[in-house]
Symmetry: C2
Subunit: 326 residues, 2 copies
């Protein structure tokens, strides 16, 4: 495990333990199948980044109640719901190193248990009795579903632009991470300035997080990633490393890449060659650089808060995003 990760894990150990308990306690299904399917996706080594960010955001704004762990589950349930629905949409085979849920219990269970998790997320937000928190959660669901639909429409579109790419990831990924931070600030009764800072932090971190995720699809090993590399391309999903490289490629490389993208069934050698092109045309480097800029902005945005262990943790989490391998 990398040193940064280890250091962060020590700092948030108690929070993570609290989140695990709360995730079990608040699931509340009356059926065994719901429990099984939801648990498969919920308790298979997720990073708990979203609930953790909500808790830290609340804390940095002075929250000292005892409802933060419970409320934070809303953001992990949302995340799990989208994983269930997206894996089905993408027909993914692996998730967190395990067989995707829809392949075990079928598409139907994946759809319906996903719906149940969306409902739980809404119910937990409603349980706060704070309209502003509920609005954050319903906005997230709206944004995420539209981001995913947008991505679906873009599939196989070779002419995708950088701005198309950002339009999608802002909705499908950043909205949830940003929303978690925002909700933390709200339950702490934060000032508008504090809220704005945490919204900014979450947005920047969310964008960087997705960019690194998209990068890992080309640079990671399947065993580290817990899902197959090259999956994006196999689904015709163009991400920044490819979009950038396509724009820079000479005409013969451009044609070759186009062919590869069009066929969902490329060989290991073809995939390896594509990776060398992404390096050659700078798509990998460009994505990394840009992600670094977003992380730097995330780190800056919490500087309005006075120095504290919580601020350090938020900054380290942002930094860690860049070096993660999974």
């Amino acid at each position: 495990m990398n040193v940064k990760k280890q250091k962060i894990l020590v700092m948030v150990e108690d929070d993570l333990a609290g989140i695990e308990i709360a995730l079990k306690e608040n699931l509340n299904p009356y059926l065994e199948l719901v429990s099984e399917t939801a648990s498969h996706i919920l308790f298979s080594g997720g990073k708990r980044l979203r609930p953790l960010l909500m808790i830290l955001s609340a804390r940095i704004c002075g929250y000292n109640g005892d409802q933060d762990k419970k409320i934070s589950t809303s953001f992990e349930y949302l995340h799990a719901a989208t994983l269930l629905h997206d894996d089905l949409v993408d027909d993914a085979t692996l998730r967190r190193g395990r067989k995707a849920a829809h392949l075990i219990w079928g598409n139907s269970a994946a759809v319906l248990v996903g719906d149940f998790l969306l409902a739980r997320a809404g119910a937990i937000a409603t349980g706060t009795d704070i309209i502003e928190v509920i609005k954050v959660v319903t906005d997230i669901i709206e944004e995420m579903s539209q981001g995913e639909i947008h991505q679906l429409i873009n599939k196989g579109n070779i002419d995708l632009s950088e701005s198309d790419y950002f339009e999608v990831i802002k909705r499908k990924t950043a909205a949830l991470i940003q929303g978690a931070c925002h909700a933390g600030a709200i339950i702490a009764g934060a000032s508008e300035k504090e809220k704005a800072a945490l919204i900014e932090y979450g947005y920047m971190l969310g964008i960087a997080f997705q960019m690194i995720d998209d990068l890992l699809d080309y640079t990671a090993e399947t065993k580290d990633l817990g899902k197959e590399t090259g999956a994006d391309l196999r689904e015709g999903k163009l991400t920044l490393p490819v979009i950038y490289s396509l724009a820079k490629a000479n005409s013969s490389d451009h044609s070759w890449m186009k062919e590869i993208i069009k066929k969902s069934d490329f060989s290991v050698n073809e995939f390896e060659h594509l990776k060398t092109l992404l390096l050659k045309y700078g798509g990998i480097e460009y994505t990394e650089k840009l992600a670094e800029e977003y992380v730097a902005k995330a780190i800056d945005s919490v500087l309005i808060f006075k120095p504290s262990k919580t601020r350090d943790t938020l900054q380290m989490l942002a930094e860690y995003t860049l070096s993660r391998k999974e």
Copy 2:
């Protein structure tokens, strides 16, 4: 068109027109595909029963604001979301006489546009700023998803009991109709007694509505129904007419029915013979009778309100449930 239906339609003409406008105005998607897919399911001749019941429930409790049409869309969006997800789960081919959405736009769009509609339903409820209304909506999503999952688990189970059946339909159908009535009472600032009456009305009507729906799967014509008859059985979904008849059947008929239920691909003749058995063993009649009892209870439950055109409409709507052909 049957006379009862025509009479009701005249009484609720303005409300229905207002609902149609509100459904268009509040959908609010930023993508064409969402609009197309959602419109396919939303604007293909739905009965608008749920939003209508919310509006009438509010009115009978003295509501005189101008937000009822808008809020009522939440319950039609919920309904449309579940139709999208359920048709996919059931792999249905027809819905409201048109090709099911998932067959036109694919499973992925059906899942994601369904999610979007769930989010819109939540957002509109949240827009009321009334926690109690929001809670009704999140409870509905939780109940409906679990009801559908329960139904999924029960598929092909030949030993299903009446109480298993009611457990499912109470969640998958009655929860939404009951919730719509409940929400109407809440936005009108109704008394607890009035709320309880409308919850009772919605519950009884919802149960009867589903029983008749299940009956129509055996007694209607595909052209009237807008979806295929025999679909339930083809999916291994046992409903009351079958459950009751199975329990009464002699051993040879019982074995034959069991065989038919087990194979998803029965002939027209086999289906016709099954229908004669449902008549012979009283499953059709029993379901009708029971639905009548539920409708009678629904009609009684609004007697706490003083006589009015609105009360008449609620009662006629309940009565109409029994004679509907689609």
